[in-house]
Assembly symmetry: C2
Homo-oligomer: 428 residues x 2
């Protein structure tokens, strides 16, 4: 098998450009490892003339992604355009239909349409690989789908959106409020065109849906994920957490409980000195737990030209080497439904409320928590300059339902000012 | 391909027993992921009757490993006996010769005879996989050989012997001397029958030789590794390091320099707050750096029944799925020679010496360092009760040659008492 593997690349943004550079720079090394040369034969992007710092003159140009997907001289279609619908979807479907292997970095497309695409790819006998869609350069999909394939996976946790982690880290380090750091991140070009994808947790939840599908043998189901963004995290919360030896992270958790698979992507508190707690800036981390392996922690750059191109290239080399796997690690038609399970896993919670500064206010809230069956582990009331007394509660292990009930009862007492903040604490 | 994949397991110690349990417990899940059932058909171990807590009565028994390797009903021979020579080597050679795929956890065998075994396996067209030989449950070989295959690897670093890391961590936490903790580890059963394999750095160096072969496209060459054990690390060194914000780790480093590939497995100092510095007890960590991916950090249990069985099972499932790769990621006959390169990489060093307590002693040592071209960054002299004044030097970046020259010149001054300790500092 020494004939070249021929790539058609759709999308020449940061990742596409990085892939072109990698194919050009490491051609000899890639050929030695793949057992055959890997070549680019055709590309497709919005602008043909933009200066990208790489020479693409040797490659055929296509204006239409679907035409690229159908080219006879293309073996593998690499989809780096992004977008959950539109041209990326049309291209991917056309490529599968034309019997081409596909490598994709498109988390949104796969999280939303992955099941149908997997069924189509498996029916056609083509590969559909997406290492670059989750956690940038970290080979997390390969580790989970292949390296840990002997394990019954029990939990997957992770920080998978570098922008949110940058914002939270920067708020703590510089003592700045959310809005200021959000604007900073915007100026630095860290945010998606629609920033809700980042700060609303959507992008990270797309990634979690893909990992959960592989780890737990379910159809990827974005809608089954309990979703919460970081927009409501205040500098007060960050300081209070630090005071307790905790840090706030936008944390994805997929875990098998007695009532089925629970998936959430929400701001959580983790110990400051844990691997997750120490994660700074745009770095990603995924923690995988299985019945045999215990716990594996994978850490690396979550985005960027080089790291993402590295992940794409890993998939391309797999295909060149002849690796053929079901898209999510077992046949798509054998995947179970992932239903939206209300979180029943029992965890400690962090609860911050502002109380009116009157005698008995604290007692009323404590009573409300008790009525909801929420037991208090630690409580702190902070000094304050205005009429609002900030109160912090760390509960014993309880459920999100109980916490929401406790918050509702607290609000009914009439002593709570503003909106309470309730965050789960992921201790281990 | 729905016929079962049939395993013959040689060795039923901790790992072998763990593998039997895993095959039995997760049979359905493994079949779904592998696309076919994985079955054990025959086993071989020293004692047939020992109670291992698993039922092996359904499997054929072989007294002779070579006979196991040649059984017609075995597709994959799993070598979990250990030992760099003798039965493990005979079994592996016989299995390859009989056209069987082999999965091995034997780092010593592969580090010493890997090149010949790889050539034999590739000539026969059989797989020889060894994820479990390096860093226990961490899928580091898969990550390096497959996930990061598009990268020119620039450096691999890691803590890969849990026993050494346990000893060093325990010395620091409990303030105990080396000999006491060594004896503790021995009592706990953490040490190999020949403890030099652990504390002499040999076991970890075997692992580094395998990673270097894959990452840098060289023949595994244990003899090319600069080797140093932890036996000479004193509680004084551990305290002095802590004082400087550093921790001592038995650290493997393989890096490409202008003069070729340098490999070392020696006690080094790392920042206490770095991922490597924070690694406690028996956990392993491997850091991989490549031109595209930047830096990936992998962390997990370095040994134990479940984690090691998980790694073995990952290889078995790869074989069941039809994955076929050259043993070290590119054809064995294309691997370069790894020569024993004298370390030229420039690093800061930690130097601890005892000086006679007389005026001018410190000046003489400082002069000796200067003559050797070693520039001092920080120097501390500690208070002392006896006649020996402990002096600590942190140098600016220099080479190991220069440091050894400086030590030799220092010894010639006649003011140094006892043996100086010189350790490289790995800062990033």
């Amino acid at each position: 098998m020494t004939h070249p593997l021929r790539l058609g690349i759709a999308g020449l943004g940061t990742v596409g450009t990085g892939l072109v550079k990698l194919v050009q720079t490491n051609a000899d090394l890639i050929a030695a490892r793949a057992g055959r040369p890997v070549e680019i034969v055709a590309v497709c992007a919005r602008s043909r003339t933009r200066n990208r710092g790489v020479d693409i003159s040797a490659y055929a140009w296509e204006d239409d992604p679907v035409a690229l997907a159908r080219r006879d001289d293309v073996d593998v279609v690499v989809e780096l355009m992004g977008g959950e619908n539109g041209p990326a979807k049309a291209l991917t479907e056309a490529a599968i239909d034309a019997g081409k292997d596909v490598v994709s970095a498109n988390k949104a497309l796969l999280a939303l349409y992955g099941q149908a695409l997997a069924e189509a790819a498996e029916a056609k006998g083509v590969a559909l690989r997406f290492e670059a869609a989750v956690a940038g350069g970290i080979p997390v999909i390969k580790s989970l789908m292949e390296g840990l394939a002997g394990n019954r996976i029990t939990r997957i946790k992770g920080v998978m959106n570098g922008t949110c982690n940058y914002i939270l880290t920067r708020m703590e380090d510089a003592g700045l409020p959310y809005d200021t750091v959000f604007e900073e991140a915007n100026q630095l070009g860290f945010l998606e065109a629609d920033p809700t994808l980042d700060v609303g947790g959507i992008d990270a939840a797309h990634k979690l849906a893909l990992l959960a599908a592989i780890g737990f043998g379910v159809q990827p189901n974005f809608d089954a994920i309990e979703l919460g963004g970081i927009e409501k995290i205040s500098i007060e919360d960050i300081r209070a957490a630090a005071d307790l030896g905790l840090r706030i992270k936008l944390l994805g958790v997929a875990q098998m409980t007695g009532r089925g698979l629970e998936q959430s992507m929400t701001p959580c508190l983790v110990p400051s000195d844990s691997p997750l707690g120490q994660l700074k800036g745009g770095t990603n981390m995924v923690v995988i737990e299985g019945d045999a392996v215990e716990q594996i922690v994978l850490r690396g750059p979550g985005a960027g030209e080089g790291p993402t191109a590295s992940a794409v290239m890993g998939d391309v080399i797999d295909i060149a080497r002849g690796l053929r796997l079901p898209v999510f690690g077992q046949p798509a038609n054998s995947l179970a439904q992932a239903v939206a399970a209300r979180a029943t896993a029992s965890k400690p919670f962090y609860l911050r409320m502002g109380l009116i500064d009157k005698p008995g206010a604290l007692a009323k809230v404590a009573e409300a928590l008790g009525l909801a069956g929420v037991s208090i582990n630690r409580m702190r009331q902070y000094g304050h300059a205005d009429t609002r007394a900030p109160v912090l509660v760390i509960t014993h292990k309880t459920t999100r339902d109980a916490i929401e009930h406790a918050v509702a009862l607290s609000l009914k007492t009439g002593v709570v000012v503003g909106e309470p903040v309730a965050l789960a604490i992921e201790e281990d």
